[in-house]
């Protein structure tokens, strides 16, 4: 039993940190968030080059075949710099294809996704914004060899830059996972501007969009189970990103508390400030423990994996928000300004809190598990 990154993972972490610090400074984040898509071709290229886009995808299909702990390692570093754009969508879409696709489909998508040539996202949420796959209501119709879909999906991240949108639809009792080309006729993507401008959300409308049934992912397996698994992968990635955000906020607040003086002393010598910082550390480290465990458990298919993911997300959702709140409070007025980078993390924490289900949602999942209901 060893609950720590191994040497390779630590090296990977350090080089990733160094690279992102250089390539994605706050000015770049700010520039990108002012754009329509928050997506940066150069950074995307960098991520492809580094192998990050295919990090956990199978080696047979252009990936590096790494585990989720490695993914968590880079996601944490991305969170630390508040990296904008569609990395998380790429992970979600990649995991979905890897879990649900047959070998023809994997061949068709994964290599291009790993090389950065094909950008994917997943359209899951509808009007109720419910992350439970069983809540999907958008029904697909069968027309000859085709599935035909009409209706809309909401809160779809990075849909504007995606080449392919994997649309989750209801096919009777089952779900169907339809790869829809973003530029296909009948697909309309509209921005849903929201609080976190570093990860853009969209409404995606489908009007009589036909997809050959043979193109649907997972049709010969259990698409819902594959989707749940892909959601778990993306959720852990998000948790790791949140941990990175917490770490930045913690370090920044501690640094500020050491240098800012009031009443003739560094404010970090006041108990009220000290205690805020101590709580931030506790929240951050506990989030990290929960996230690393979930990443490991998913990788080895531990029976506790589903619970571990919900535990991590429930805890991180509350913790990132609380760390940001404390971070702002420690800073006082300056921490509340647009110019100070803390605001980027406050907004990211808020968006991350609900992405893939908020703490309440995941506590309910945990309750079902501890009460033996599933």
């Amino acid at each position: 039993m060893e609950f720590d990154l191994n040497e390779d993972q630590k090296v990977f972490r350090d080089t990733t940190r160094k690279l992102l610090k250089k390539e994605c400074p706050a000015e770049r984040v700010r520039r990108l968030m002012e754009t329509d898509t928050a997506q940066d071709a150069q950074l995307w290229h960098l991520m492809a080059e580094q192998g990050w886009l295919g990090l956990t995808l199978p080696e047979d299909f252009g990936g590096l075949g790494q585990g989720l702990v490695e993914l968590a390692v880079i996601a944490e570093e991305m969170g630390r710099v508040c990296l904008p754009g569609g990395f998380l969508s790429a992970i979600f879409a990649g995991a979905l294809v890897a879990e649900a696709g047959n070998s023809r489909q994997k061949a068709a998508y994964l290599e291009k996704m790993a090389s950065g040539d094909l950008k994917g996202t997943v359209a899951l949420l509808e009007a109720e914004a419910d992350w439970n796959p069983s809540a999907v209501r958008l029904a697909v119709e069968r027309n000859g060899e085709d599935f035909v879909v009409s209706g809309k999906k909401l809160f779809v991240p990075d849909a504007q830059t995606a080449d392919v949108i994997f649309c989750v639809v209801r096919d009777g009792e089952s779900l169907a996972l339809l790869p829809v080309a973003k530029d296909a006729a009948g697909v309309k993507v509209t921005a849903m501007p929201a609080l976190d401008a570093t990860r853009k959300l969209y409404q995606v409308e489908f009007e009589n969009v036909a997809i050959p049934q043979a193109e649907a992912l997972g049709a010969d397996g259990n698409p819902e189970r594959a989707l749940r698994r892909a959601i778990e992968v993306a959720t852990v990635t998000l948790c790791a990103e949140m941990v990175g955000g917490m770490q930045w906020v913690l370090e920044t607040a501690v640094e500020y508390a050491k240098t800012r003086h009031q009443f003739g002393k560094p404010i970090g010598s006041f108990q009220a400030v000290q205690h805020q910082c101590a709580d931030m550390l506790l929240l951050t480290e506990s989030s990290r423990s929960a996230t690393l465990f979930a990443a490991w458990a998913l990788t080895v298919d531990d029976p506790k994996a589903a619970a571990a993911v919900s535990i991590a997300k429930a805890y991180c959702s509350d913790a990132f928000r609380e760390v940001c709140h404390r971070g702002v409070q420690v800073h006082g007025g300056i921490g509340f300004t647009w110019e100070y980078d803390l605001q980027l993390y406050v907004k990211r924490s808020k968006a991350s809190e609900i992405l893939f289900g908020d703490a309440t949602f995941h506590r309910e999942q945990v309750a079902q598990l501890v009460l033996g209901e599933r």
Partner: protein, 391 residues
């Protein structure tokens, strides 16, 4: 103990209610957005003028200074009725609730004659130049200096977190006039014309995207010595009076906004759906809505109690810190509850005009502005409970 309005208070309320019904601009004529958006300034100044003309400005100010000479309870009724009528917020709030009462308490007769009436009529807007980049919680360490030169003071330095500076005609400014004295002893309070040369206002954008505050830069600004409010080097007393007035008044004005906000949330909870039902049927949501309601009601009750006490003693005291602490933390909890209740919709810029995302972000400043929660707790501990000083 009688929370019913007295006949006089009822009459006051009825009178103002009728007056509002007759004089309030129709909803479609009113500006959208916040008070600090410049496009709204003319409208809001006119609205203050209308109030003044109707005899509804400076409700609790003495009649001799153009106020209505009404009681503090009537002042609160005035606020409540504005809220019920969904009336625009008052743009001259710094002048009305902070500068005016301070000038009445500490000003010379000439100052009273010169400054009070234009505050009431909305002709002159005031701002308050207290905080500095290096003097936040530790306000007494302020560094903006004023050097005596003949009949003038020459001011240089920087203020920050100055609300309304972008439209203000005057500023209640704290400056250091004695570099040698102990830090609380060398401060003077000046009434400064914001149109003087050497004053530069730069909006301070907040994380919530708007610029309710400003930075104000003073470069050798000359102000006649007659503009001192109170005594030279005794401005700290003036500052404390002003801050207590600020805290005493902020709560009751904000209640209006909080009530509207919670009502909107309650209505929204009936339309946003989860699991095929409006979220207001979710027991967790119900608990959150109820807690918000409970705290808002108690804020109102605490304010009424404080008002009764203030009416007897005449001077706002450190109890204002309890109110400040209460409303700031209440609003943060309620805004967070709104986020949890509305879920993904609460973060959208185009859902309810983005008020939920804005409200959440803006609320994070509540426990910092007008004295951080840490400072308020220190004040309560030391000045109300009599605990020894922490530093």
């Amino acid at each position: 103990m009688d929370l019913n309005l007295t006949p006089a208070e009822q009459q006051f309320r009825d009178e103002f209610r009728s007056w509002l019904a007759a004089n309030l601009p129709a909803p479609e004529e009113r500006p959208k957005g916040t008070r600090t958006e410049l496009g709204n300034v003319t409208f809001l100044k006119n609205w203050q003028k209308t109030l003044y003309a109707g005899g509804w400005a400076g409700i609790s100010w003495p009649k001799e200074y153009g106020g209505r000479g009404a009681t503090l309870v009537e002042q609160a009724i005035f606020q409540e009725e504005l809220a019920h009528a969904n009336a625009p917020e008052l743009i001259g709030t710094i002048g009305l609730s902070l500068v005016g009462p301070t000038i009445i308490a500490m000003g010379t007769e000439a100052q009273k004659q010169r400054y009070l009436a234009p505050i009431l009529s909305g002709e002159e807007i005031w701002c308050q130049g207290f905080s500095e980049p290096n003097a936040g919680s530790d306000l007494a360490s302020l560094a903006t200096k004023a050097v005596r030169d003949g009949d003038d003071f020459v001011i240089s330095g920087q203020k920050t977190w100055t609300s309304f500076a972008q439209m203000a005609d005057w500023c209640l400014l704290l400056v250091r006039t004695d570099q040698e004295a102990a830090k609380h002893k060398g401060i003077t309070c000046l009434l400064v014309d914001m149109h003087l040369p050497g004053i530069q206002v730069r909006p301070l954008r907040m994380m919530s995207g708007d610029s309710a505050f400003n930075e104000v830069f003073f470069t050798e600004v000359r102000v006649p010595a007659a503009q001192v409010l109170g005594k030279v080097n005794q401005g700290w007393t003036t500052a404390i009076t002003a801050l207590m007035n600020e805290r005493a008044n902020l709560g009751s004005g904000l209640q209006v906004i909080f009530r509207r906000n919670l009502d909107a949330l309650i209505e929204r909870s009936k339309t946003v759906q989860r699991n095929g039902k409006p979220v207001c049927e979710d027991p967790l949501v119900r608990q959150k809505l109820a807690q918000a309601q409970i705290e808002l009601e108690i804020l109102g009750l605490n304010t009424m109690r404080a008002l009764t006490s203030l009416a007897k003693t005449g001077i706002p005291g450190p109890e204002g810190s309890i109110s400040k602490l209460f409303w700031s933390e209440m609003n943060q909890k309620t805004q967070q509850a709104a986020q949890e209740i509305l879920g993904a919709y609460g973060q959208l810029s185009e859902f309810d005009n983005g008020i939920w995302a804005y409200g959440y972000l803006r609320s994070r400043g509540n426990t910092i502005e007008a004295g951080t929660s840490e400072i308020q707790r220190n004040i309560i501990a030391e000045r109300v409970l009599g605990l020894p000083k922490s530093y």
